[in-house]
């Protein structure tokens, strides 16, 4: 096959896969920009209009924000931001200790840590509720953020990353008389960017998608997070499809807008070739 033919084939393949990934959200997006009565008109029998925002009617976006969706977005952003900040610090330190330092009981503690991430927050939500109520954190940001900060998955991710950094770097620094804290801050932290992005993304997405725990742990309107606000569009009276779609689009766009600028850190390959995989 000549090279322009294979290029075409490659674009066709990428486009096909891309369309499969985009289709559901695109349909929700174009439906969100229609009048309510038009949403299901062209899906069966199918007409291309089903995938186009015609007739154009963007009113749903105004309505959701008048109904307090902005507050929910703000709550979710704040909770996710706090979770990422504290989560990276706490789990990063623990991951470093497990990967690099030696201390008694290390394997046992790491085993327990790995086991904890196998436990669904859904499964332990009832006892967890008792604990958080005891701390007086119900219906507060602390109640949404703190229980999720320490996280076995993130610790595991950091440990895996730190473990692949050649020990010679730390050894050389030890020879020069550097303390472990200096080694952590001077050698390991600067190399951390890729794992910080991966771990931060993991924490952000888990918090952004959280549904059951906020449902249990919050009560007031002012503490509602995005996923709960979304459920609200489906429950009150009848389903307001265009508003549900509009809110879905907004809540899906935010993680994507945060992720897209970050992808350049992957593309640049910041890990570089100095570190063996």
């Amino acid at each position: 096959m000549n090279s322009s033919g294979s290029t075409l084939l490659r674009h066709a393949g990428y486009l096909l896969v891309g369309c499969i990934f985009l289709l559901p959200l695109w349909w929700a997006f174009s439906s969100s920009l229609k009048p309510l009565t038009e949403v299901f008109r062209d899906t069966s029998p199918f007409h291309l209009r089903a995938l186009l925002p015609v007739p154009f009617h963007p009113g749903a976006y105004l309505e959701i924000f008048q109904k307090g969706f902005g507050r929910a977005v703000w709550n979710s952003l704040l909770v996710a931001f706090l979770s990422v900040t504290f989560g990276l610090a706490v789990n990063g330190c623990a991951g470093f200790a497990f990967a690099v330092l030696s201390f008694p009981g290390k394997n046992l503690l790491f085993g327990i840590t790995v086991l904890t991430f196998l436990v669904p927050s859904e499964a332990i939500s009832v006892p967890l509720y008792t604990v958080v109520r005891g701390l007086g954190w119900l219906d507060s940001y602390a109640g949404l953020v703190v229980p999720g900060i320490a996280n076995g998955i993130t610790i595991f991710l950091f440990r895996q990353f730190f473990a692949q950094i050649p020990r010679e770097l730390a050894e050389a620094a030890r020879m020069d008389g550097a303390g472990w804290l200096t080694i952590l801050l001077r050698i390991y932290v600067p190399l951390c960017k890729p794992v910080i992005i991966s771990a931060g993304l993991l924490i952000f997405i888990f918090q952004w998608e959280a549904f059951l725990w906020p449902l249990i742990a919050t009560r007031s309107e002012g503490m509602r997070v995005v996923q709960l606000a979304l459920a609200g569009f489906e429950q009150e009276h009848q389903t307001l499809w265009t508003e549900l779609f509009a809110a879905s689009v907004v809540s899906s766009a935010i993680p994507l807008l945060i992720l897209l600028p970050l992808q350049r850190y992957y593309i640049q390959g910041v890990v570089g070739s100095s570190i063996k995989g």
């Binding site: 490659r10 330092l101 904890t116 196998l118 332990i124 879905s248 390959g269």
Partner: protein, 290 residues
């Protein structure tokens, strides 16, 4: 190398994480284990009685438990390998460099932003047997209408497809990061040696990607064994219990029928199951490494 004199620093670094895990994970798990040995009292509302292993004995004598165990096992035996392999293929796809790749990356990223509840709502409408978009599109290529979520033999696989659509982009990110960490020189050297693309992939890329693959496989397994939102939002465990996974059975026991002891016993069984699956994955992947 022995990291001498590092124990005090290790203690300080681990303290916050361990305290949080202890209070918000391990203590609630202990409460769960304890609760699985107790049962609601009939005489006094809100009181529970110690019943030993009775919840487990009842569970093992219940055909619905075995049905749920079978559904959970069947789903996981398929969904985890499928998701990891697809995520790997996608990672290789986004890792290519050519004109226009930025646009395709954008498309492949989309499901990362879509939360699972949203994905379920949108896919339910698209998979609707009467008015769904998917059936219309299938009609174009000459395939008849499919019942999807309302059919006993298709519901579980429809959920698998939805969860996979939602999940693979997310796992792709971690494998992509792993691919980026592989030094380009290795590929160059192999190319100069004349190794073909496929061979390079299996001989160089895959072995060096093992850490990332293990992480994704383990985490994905833990997530999928506890998959609950699609069953909750789309099928309620049906039709004919065909999507009644253990996690959904536990939810029903605890929150619909008020049998918290049974629910917690189910959760304990589920935790044991996940632990065994993950331990096996560690064992086999580690062994291969040495």
């Amino acid at each position: 190398m022995k990291a001498k004199g590092s124990a005090p620093l290790a203690f300080v670094l681990l303290l916050p994480a361990m305290v949080c895990l202890g209070v918000f994970r391990i203590y609630p798990i202990a409460l769960t284990a304890w609760g699985s040995l107790r049962r609601e009292s009939f005489e006094e509302a809100g009181r529970t009685l110690f019943v030993g292993a009775q919840n487990y004995v009842d569970l093992f004598g219940d055909p619905l438990f075995w049905k749920s165990l079978w559904v959970t096992t069947k789903l996981n035996a398929v969904i985890n390998p499928v998701q990891v392999v697809l995520a790997l293929l996608l990672a290789v796809m986004v890792n290519q460099r050519f004109r226009g790749i930025g646009f395709y990356r954008l498309l492949l990223f989309v499901p990362i932003g879509v939360s699972l509840p949203i994905a379920c709502v949108i896919w339910r409408l698209m998979l609707d047997p009467q008015s769904g978009l998917i059936n219309s599109l299938l009609g174009w290529v000459g395939i008849g209408r499919q019942p999807f979520l309302i059919d006993e033999h298709q519901a579980l696989w429809s959920i698998l497809a939805i969860a996979t659509w939602k999940g693979v982009s997310f796992w792709m990110i971690f494998l992509w990061a792993g691919l980026q960490a592989i030094p380009l020189e290795l590929h160059e050297a192999a190319r100069i040696d004349g190794a073909r693309t496929v061979r390079r992939f299996f001989r160089i890329t895959l072995p060096l990607l093992k850490r990332s693959l293990l992480f994704v496989l383990v985490t994905d397994t833990a997530v999928n064994f506890l998959l609950f939102v699609p069953m909750f939002l789309l099928t309620r465990g049906g039709p004919a219990y065909s999507t009644n996974v253990l996690m959904y059975e536990a939810y029903k026991s605890g929150f619909i029928y008020g049998e918290m002891g049974r629910a917690l016993a189910l959760v304990m069984v589920l935790l044991l199951l996940v632990s065994v699956a993950v331990a096996l994955q560690f064992y086999f992947l580690r062994q291969e490494e040495s």
